[in-house]
């Protein structure tokens, strides 16, 4: 498992993906802070943060996960992994760890403004901590979904766009709940909405059901990806 995680993480930096990803991300952070804070569009820091993180997840996570299995399938390197004495779960979880670590590296950069702010005022650390935890959990869930989608296709582009679509849907589905009359359906939309769950964290609340929800999504999609890889053997 660690061998795969290590190789994957290295892989992000052997190809331009890692550098482009981090570079663009840091540029966006900088620009965003500059525009929002200096032009004083909004002074509500928690909202500024949570908006930013949602956008990172939406746009950049599909780029992290798109290659994870698609590339292996296309290059037929999955044959090397699947005939090595490791279980499929280790393979999938190793890939997940690497993607998650990449995402976490990117997130650390956003701590810089938070640190800077402490010099001039006293930010609400509970909110900041909650937002980070929420972002990491929500991101982990999206990453596992993205990895699953990439195991379905040989094409990285198909994987990226589908993951983008699913991510967008899961973020926006909560807003549908107010426009459907069926209460059961409305409740379901609220329940499944990543955004609704994520927003709780941005208020500094450690919502246990949401934590369990996000971790369950990771577990389910890791399981599904492993099944998908196994199913290749039976086709």
């Amino acid at each position: 498992m660690m061998a795969i995680a290590k190789k994957e993480l290295k892989g992000y930096f052997l190809s331009p993906i890692g550098y482009v990803f981090l570079g663009v991300l840091f540029l966006m952070f900088g620009l965003y802070y500059y525009v929002v804070l200096l032009s004083q569009v909004s002074s509500l820091i928690p909202q500024v943060y949570s908006m930013l993180f949602i956008w990172i997840e939406l746009i950049l996570l599909p780029l992290i996960t798109m290659r994870s299995f698609s590339e292996e399938i296309r290059n037929k390197t999955d044959q090397g992994l699947l005939t090595a004495p490791v279980g499929v779960f280790s393979i999938v979880f190793g890939k997940f760890l690497a993607a998650f670590f990449m995402f976490a590296i990117a997130m650390t950069a956003t701590l810089i403004p938070a640190v800077v702010i402490t010099f001039f005022s006293s930010p609400d650390w509970a909110t900041i901590f909650g937002t980070y935890l929420g972002t990491l959990l929500c991101g982990a869930a999206f990453l596992s979904i993205g990895i699953f989608i990439s195991s379905l296709t040989q094409s990285q582009i198909v994987a990226a766009i589908s993951t983008f679509g699913v991510t967008l849907l899961l973020l926006l589905v909560g807003q549908l709940s107010s426009s459907v009359s069926n209460t059961a359906l409305a409740n379901f939309f609220t329940w499944i909405s990543f955004d609704t769950r994520y927003q709780k964290f941005t208020k500094g609340i450690l919502d246990i059901p949401s934590i369990v929800f996000f971790l369950s999504v990771v577990a389910v999609f890791t399981f599904l990806t492993a099944r998908k890889l196994e199913s290749k053997r039976w086709s």
Binding site: M2, A3, I4, K6, K7, K10, G11, L14, S15, N75, K76, T77, D78, Q79, G80, L81, L82, T83, A84, P85, V86, G87, K232, R233, W234, S235
Partner: protein
């Protein structure tokens, strides 16, 4: 070492393997031979655990590949038809990754250095795999199979894409590996298998059609003999007369070789000696025999016969059914 029992694999309607059974002992090189799509790669993929069989079992070094997949996989070094290489890694990085992935416990530096020396890739160890030629990639794939020194090596067409010198080197390497490894290699090139294998298995259309040493296959197969004759005389008549000889199963005309001289191939049952009656006919008709040689069945003939006959009989069946349809 390897025990394959009643292995079948179906892809939907398509039967890729049909109840194949064999076992391979220690320190032997087995050549897996067959035309394209015969089921060579499928068999290898099942043994290595990349594919699952529809039915049947595979046991490697006492481990059933379904019940103990990781133990079995540890015993196998596999080089697939397309070596699983990551183009953005250097050779050294790749081998190190595979070393970690296979959880090898041998001393890393020394082990990898030995393997690189063995397959002669030491001089490209620092280069990106993407920049390597096909021959080098093939050898990196072979190196990958050797990592961890597994007792069983399964090599799917190991010499494809190599130049003649490299082919000889790899063959020699496989031969020397065969002294303390069990090697299964597939190929559709006969001389290659003949050169390295102690034992040859011929598969065709998912079935094992022959199994034995090269010598056994060459000689055991021939319940038949073959003569190649050059005779002067009217071709049609000669051909007709040859078929009347007792024991002759077929005559083929190879065409005119010299003015008025034709070459024929005469097939016959093993027991009957065709040379004397042939001479008799020629003498009676005054057709001079210019040359006559009995040709033993070469491995190539065996191969063609075994893999081609089913093809022919299938065609005959189609022909039959067509005729039957016409009658209706």
């Amino acid at each position: 070492m390897i025990e394959v029992k009643n292995l079948s694999k179906r892809y939907g309607e398509n039967v890729a393997l049909n109840h194949v059974s064999f076992s391979v002992g220690e320190n032997t090189v087995v050549g897996f031979l067959g035309p394209n799509g015969a089921g060579k790669s499928t068999t290898m993929n099942i043994i290595t655990g990349y594919l699952s069989a529809s039915s049947g079992t595979v046991t490697v070094c006492g481990y059933n590949t379904l019940d103990y997949p990781n133990e079995a996989k540890k015993k196998i070094g596999y080089m697939p038809e397309i070596p699983p290489l990551y183009p953005d890694m250097t050779v050294r990085e790749y081998l190190n990754f595979m070393y970690d992935l296979k959880k090898v416990t041998l001393p890393r530096e020394k082990h990898l250095r030995e393997i690189c020396a063995l397959v002669q890739i030491s001089d490209v160890a620092g280069r990106l795999i993407a920049n390597l030629s096909k021959g080098y990639r093939q050898r990196v794939g072979l190196a990958e199979a050797l990592i961890g020194n597994p007792p069983v090596l399964i090599l799917d067409e190991p010499t494809v894409g190599l130049d003649p010198k490299q082919i000889i080197e790899v063959r020699n390497l496989i031969k020397s590996l065969g002294k303390n490894h069990t090697v299964i290699l597939s190929s559709h090139i006969l001389p290659e298998v003949q050169a390295v294998a102690d034992r040859i298995m011929i598969v065709n259309r998912g079935e094992l059609v022959a199994d034995g040493t090269p010598y056994e296959l060459e000689h055991g197969q021939s319940g038949e003999q073959k003569l190649v004759v050059r005779m002067e005389g009217p071709a049609d008549e000669v051909e007709h007369m040859l078929t009347t000889i007792r024991g002759v199963t077929g005559v083929r005309n190879f065409g005119q070789k010299e003015p008025g001289v034709f070459e024929y191939e005469v097939d016959g049952h093993g027991s009957a000696d065709l040379r004397r009656p042939l001479f008799g006919i020629a003498a009676k008709r005054n057709w001079p025999i210019l040359s006559m040689a009995s040709s033993e069945l070469s491995l190539e003939d065996v191969f063609l016969r075994l893999t081609g006959s089913t093809y022919l009989s299938d065609n005959a069946q189609i022909e039959k059914s067509r005729k039957g349809g016409g009658r209706k």
